[in-house]
Symmetry: C2
Subunit: 143 residues, 2 copies
DNA sequence: ATGCGAATAATAATAGTTCTCATTTGCAAT
DNA sequence: ATTGCAAATGAGAACTATTATTATTCGCAT
């Protein structure tokens, strides 16, 4: 269906290889927005692309450095990645079903900058995760 | 020097044992505010208290559940604990020296609640970590 | 087509944490 | 004070996520 798009890899200084294209396309396909290394590995195997788990880890890290992906460290120890679409956002994670919802709040962002600069810090980065339950009895995000 | 204070353990429904008292007192001593399991383990061994690493992990988790301690998952994968002193706060972590500074911003807190409730989530918890550099050339928080 | 440096796959190794289970301990009831 | 027993501990094995090692393979400029 969708052809590989090596331009993004080349412009990131990465030579275009089969595993890299497969991983990038998996994220671009939009099937699942947030995936761990294990998730990516399983998706690729399931769709017949033979790949090594170590390669998945390496490529995800490279993509993070190339700013193609963003890494998140949610509770639970494992890193989760998502396509970097330019617009920063924070996350609400449902503790019942694991569903991740994104949000952006300008007021929160600007207060953070203020707090940090008042204390003499130059902000690199931040992570804001709200851990919550879907309110309704039948959690709408069952997996 | 400082006597054990079993009241806190009892009221948390935990029977007062030697390792638990030692760990609680270590945090209360205030020497170091933020410690990983490994940190706690080393401190205890260094002060002559023989303890098992598995016990440290177990007790830290129990103390978290009993709300005696708060767990933080900063970048880097390992959990860090601090004494729960009632007042919630967020953290700025200096990427140069690892120093952790605490802050509280009412505006950020209330915006978070608003964002979550608008989306039908009941907030359990949140974590906000700002990763930054101390602005000055000579980072004031050298370790 | 071919050669070389980079990338890969398989596997071993590591770090952080949890589990298992035999032994010990806290403490309530004698 | 002793005893009994459930709960807690310690030692090490096991587990999970991730990184390192290395021989083989691949992308791509020539």
């Amino acid at each position: 269906m969708d052809k590989p798009q090596p331009e993004h890899l080349k412009s990131a200084g990465l030579k275009s290889t089969v595993p890299r294209l497969n991983i990038l396309n998996l994220f671009k396909s939009g099937q699942e927005r947030h995936m761990s290394a294990e998730d990516v590995y399983k998706h690729l195997l399931a769709s017949g692309d033979d790949v090594g788990l170590a390669t998945v880890y390496r490529v995800l890290t490279q993509f993070e450095q190339a700013k193609l992906l963003v890494r998140h460290n949610f509770e639970g120890g494992k890193s989760v990645f998502e396509l970097n679409q330019g617009k920063h956002h924070d996350h609400i994670v449902c503790l019942q079903c694991g569903h991740v919802e994104e949000f952006y709040d300008a007021a929160i962002e600007s207060r953070q900058k203020k707090v940090a600069s008042e204390r003499g810090f130059a902000v690199h980065d931040h992570s804001l995760h709200i851990y919550a339950d879907c309110v309704r009895k039948n959690c709408p995000h069952k997996r």
